[in-house]
């Protein structure tokens, strides 16, 4: 069994008949087995598709909003790959500027997985609330966020017993998310997607 990984938009209202799911599930891979981490309430996800045919992979990655990863995650990124991944993640409001050419694809995907887990905890605590709305970007400071978002970020970090000293007014949301993502990874929890440990 081979898993191919992608970062792509999520669609669906969350109604039972319109569940949140990968954007291209219905149109490009309607019958293939898959698993997904939603980026909390944000409209993006990390998807693992099982035994995807080459033509289907090509069709998926032809979409500019679909970032495909190689099956060998243990290669380091070239400069061109680093730029592509960083830009792809940032366009999904996932911090990507921390990546360097000394990082592997696995570093990148585990970070995305960690950020998704944190965003899911926020989702469970602050129902329906989005971070990136009303002009908020990764460059927005923690102090400029709505109070409910600040409270939710703090509660989510505390629920994981993270060090919250970085959640201060001058920290950007990018810095906050990199901090909690790295703290999540430092605790070494399993990250399982479609039955595969990332």
């Amino acid at each position: 069994m081979t898993i191919n990984l992608y970062v792509m938009p999520i669609v669906g209202t969350g109604a039972k008949t319109d569940m949140r799911r990968p954007k291209y599930k219905d149109s490009v891979f309607p019958t293939l087995s898959w698993g997904m981490y939603d980026y909390g309430n944000e409209p993006w996800c990390l998807v693992g598709i099982v035994d995807i045919p080459v033509a289907t992979d090509t069709a998926l990655t032809a979409n500019p909003d679909c970032l495909g990863l190689p099956t060998n995650l243990d290669q380091t990124l070239t400069t061109a790959q680093r730029n592509r991944v960083s830009n792809g993640l940032e366009s999904a409001n996932i911090p990507g500027t921390w990546l360097t050419t000394s990082n592997t694809w696995r570093d990148a995907v585990r970070f995305v997985g960690a950020i998704c887990q944190f965003a899911q905890r926020y989702q469970g605590l602050v129902t329906g609330s989005l971070w990136f709305t009303g002009g908020v970007t990764l460059a927005t400071t923690y102090g400029a966020l709505p109070q409910a978002a600040k409270d939710g970020l703090l509660a989510a970090a505390q629920s994981f017993s993270f060090d919250t000293s970085g959640l201060v007014a001058g920290s950007t949301l990018r810095q906050v998310l990199v901090s909690v993502g790295n703290q999540y990874l430092a605790s070494q929890p399993p990250l399982v997607l479609a039955g595969v440990t990332l």
Partner: protein, 200 residues
């Protein structure tokens, strides 16, 4: 791993699962019919949580599942009674993508994994959650493709869940339900022996 609660559903027909169970808000009850939990329902989803005990956050829920032609029965963990919040595994007889792990967070549904999986009516399905890790076992064997990590829901009850899938629904059943945790159980009558030489 310890069994914390069981219900074989061996009792007279009833409109719901009884006093040890609580119907999840916005969902319908799952009746007892012919000594099994049984639902024939085309429109409304069903869900009941076993609430006679306080559940640890790490828990499992299992039952023998039989799916009707329309509608998907499943077992649930961290099922909350006051909101449609739950993780559950769904199984049916669709030709493809017939097994899924799903989460509902205050009613918002997200599919976490969806695979094509061989299934015979009566198979024993177990959904386990430990920390953020969800594992599905079918007749004791892990169903690898359904494994997932998710951190949205941290607490709740073990129970049963049902997805209604439209007109023509035939009966889905659950039998021999069991829920438990992952503590180390010492069977009654067993003796713990300590080799003091190893402790010096």
């Amino acid at each position: 791993m310890s069994t914390l609660a069981t219900d074989p559903f061996t009792r007279g027909n009833a409109a719901n699962l009884g006093a040890n169970w609580t119907i999840q808000t916005t969902k319908i009850a799952i009746p007892i019919v012919s000594n099994a939990a049984s639902l024939t329902e085309p429109v409304n989803d069903g869900a009941e949580a076993y609430t006679a005990i306080a559940w640890p956050n790490d828990q499992y829920s299992q039952a023998n599942l039989t799916s009707g032609s329309q509608g998907s029965p499943g077992v649930a963990v961290r099922l909350q009674t006051g909101a449609n919040t739950v993780y559950w595994v769904s199984i049916d007889h669709e030709a493809t993508l017939n097994a899924a792990v799903l989460k509902f967070v205050t009613g918002s549904a997200t599919a976490l994994s969806n695979i094509t999986n061989a299934y015979t009516d009566g198979d024993l399905f177990r959904l386990e959650v430990q920390g953020s890790t969800l594992v599905v076992k079918q007749n004791g064997t892990t169903v690898g493709g359904l494994g997932a990590s998710d951190s949205a829901i941290t607490s709740g009850n073990a129970g049963l869940y049902y997805n209604a899938a439209g007109a023509g629904a035939t009966t889905s059943t659950w039998d021999y339900w069991e829920g438990g945790d992952f503590g180390v159980a010492i069977p009654p009558g067993d003796i713990l022996l300590f080799d003091t030489a190893l402790m010096r």
